[in-house]
């Protein structure tokens, strides 16, 4: 494009200024959406010129000036680079966009920030080859916004999920909800059965976290199940702890189980003991028990750290059946390769819900299942649509 035509093209945008023509010129000035305030946004049509032009934004507090410089740019962004504010309309790459937050002051001092609630008058100047052409004046008022429109999807899904989970919890309070069999629990029963046959003890090993963690709560409810069985079959049960609170809760749970089975006489509180207080001492102490007492089954439940390796390795060499359950994903590989059965991650929580039948656990498990089903559906439909170049679902789900 020659220099002359490009000048004409630029001038064309500002036709109204130059020749007083009546066509609307697509300059828009407005409060920047989704912000805390103190910022205005201006958009104008894409320059068709091959030459670089300089754009200047002028601001005044009165329609007739005096105008102060607010921003200068030679390479303005396009509306399409900000889907957060302007969405995904195709025409967005036909418009420039600029946000500005302050303007120069008369004396040349510190720039003056834009004030919320003040009406500002804005005009755009375009300089190509030294000539500056001005648009007409637009007015807008900056201010803080009360809702971030880019977060609609987030709000709707969050509230939806909340309602679903609360609904299922309330349903679970009234009737029992179905949860599939957890294979790990069957493996657990099998291990306990074998211990009974062999007349040997069962060793239950707690993880390292405190009583208020979900994994510890789940471990305690599994301990309850184990204690029921050992009480019924008169098998010796030993429980290793690293946290005193977990220990006293475990004692309560085991005592309760023995009472329920009508065997309070068989309950010995000292078989639920503190093995050690520190990570590696704990591992060493438990490993010592495994080697000396040779229990028929090792049950390791809860949150484990690096000591999992030591426990499972020593345990597997004694020939005992090992059942583990943890939500520590970094330790799962070691359990999987050294144990006979491993409850992985959420399976541990599910097992605890399955055993305790607690409405809050069952209900939220159901709610999460619905969430998973929704995700699976969205992924399938979204991928199919995207493969046929229909992007609306992808845009709808974008995290902006």
């Amino acid at each position: 494009m020659s220099k002359i035509t490009s000048c004409i093209a630029i001038a064309g945008i500002f036709l109204r200024v130059a020749a007083g023509a009546q066509e609307p010129v697509k300059i828009e000035v407005f409060d920047t959406p989704n912000d805390a305030g103190g910022s205005l946004t201006i958009t104008w049509p894409l320059s068709t010129s091959a030459q670089t032009s300089e754009y200047r934004i002028y601001v005044a507090t009165a329609a007739d000036g005096p105008f102060q410089l607010a921003a200068t740019t030679t390479a303005p962004a396009l509306k399409s680079t900000e889907p957060t504010l302007f969405g995904h309309a195709e025409a967005n790459d036909q418009f420039h966009v600029l946000h500005f937050t302050d303007h120069d002051t008369e004396g040349g001092g510190e720039p003056m920030p834009l004030r919320d609630g003040t009406a500002y008058f804005v005009r755009l100047g375009v300089t190509t080859d030294g000539d500056e052409l001005f648009s007409d004046v637009h007015s807008a008022e900056p201010g803080g916004n009360w809702f971030n429109t880019a977060k609609w999807n987030n709000l709707i899904i969050s509230v939806g999920l909340t309602l679903v989970i609360l609904f299922y919890i309330s349903v679970a309070r009234r009737k029992d909800l179905f949860i599939r069999r957890i294979a790990g629990l069957e493996a657990l029963d099998e291990a306990l059965g074998r211990a009974t046959e062999m007349g040997k003890s069962v060793l239950f090993v707690h993880g390292l976290k405190e009583m208020d963690k979900i994994s510890t709560i789940a471990a305690v409810s599994i301990l309850g199940r184990v204690a029921q069985r050992t009480a019924r079959f008169d098998t010796d049960l030993r429980v290793a702890n690293v946290d005193p609170v977990v220990m006293s809760v475990s004692q309560e749970v085991v005592k309760e189980a023995y009472l329920q089975q009508g065997r309070p006489d068989a309950y010995r509180p000292d078989s639920i003991f503190m093995a050690a207080t520190e990570q590696f001492s704990y591992a060493a102490a438990v490993a010592g028990i495994m080697v000396r007492e040779r229990p028929a089954a090792h049950i390791m439940m809860g949150y484990f750290y690096a000591e999992s390796m030591l426990l499972a390795e020593t345990g597997s060499t004694t020939g005992a059946i090992q059942i583990a359950g943890t939500d520590a994903y970094t330790q799962l590989p070691f359990f999987v390769t050294t144990c006979d059965y491993t409850l992985m991650g959420e399976e541990l929580y599910a097992a605890s819900a399955y055993l305790s039948r607690e409405p809050k656990l069952l209900g939220s498990l159901k709610g999460q299942d619905l969430g998973k089903a929704l995700i699976i559906g969205l992924v399938l439909v979204g991928t199919a649509l995207a493969s046929f170049e229909v992007d609306f679902l992808t845009h709808l789900l974008a995290s902006l």
Binding site: K151, N153, N154, L155, I157, S158, F178, I179, R180, R181, E278, F280, S281, A284, A287, G288, Y329, T330, L332, P333, F334, V336, T337, M344, G345, E346, E347, A350, L365, K366, D369, K372, A373, I375, I376, L378, V379, L380, G382, T383, L385, A386, S387, E389, L393, T394, L397, A398, S399
Partner: protein, 243 residues
Amino acid sequence: MTRDRYVFVGFLALFLSANAILVANGSLALDWDGIGVMVAVGCTLALYSFLYKDNALFKVAEHVYVGVAAAYVFGITWYNSLYGEIIVSYFDIGAEGSTGGGHNPWVLLFPTLLGLLMLTRFSRKFSWLSRISFAFVVGVGAGLTIPRFMSSFLLGQLEPSLAPLSLSWEGLNLFLVLVGVITVLVYFFFSVEHKGAVGHASRLGIWFLMVSFGASFGYTIMARLSLLIGRISFLLDDWLHVM
């Protein structure tokens, strides 16, 4: 028992004479740096004695470490936060030549109160007060978590999964990712029995899980070996100077 005692005495003698030789030939200076290296080596070897068997030396080293760690962390918390941020702001004591800084003391009153209430947990009579602090921490934590996990994990991870499939290498990989994500979710789906099609999908999900566990497994082994390399090169280089 006696054999272990011989091993222990021999080990100690070896350690001491090694240090004596190193000092004698000038590899280690008898200043704080040199003594520091000896202490560090002592701790390292005492802990490695666990490889021979669980023993008292190991337990001593482990418990020394626990005590030092607790005090160290307290020191850092004191100088960086309790004193360095909170007390300094209350009494407006910045460093020399420093202009201002610190928080408005009034702003700090509420969180300081919450923090102090937390410490009532150790009193039998007033421990219920600590529940207010826990309620604040847990409540705010939960409220902050919900929309942010929704945005960065659910939406943030969902959107890149919705990529157009095509008959190409990339397309195949995208398809595999799609299958992996879905089948892993099916595996962790507890509302239906894993039978029929669901059973097959969940089985495929386990395979994907196993590949990723294998990756974690390999990487974890790499991590532990890296630590060992670090310690052994400390022993060989900083202590024995043979590298």
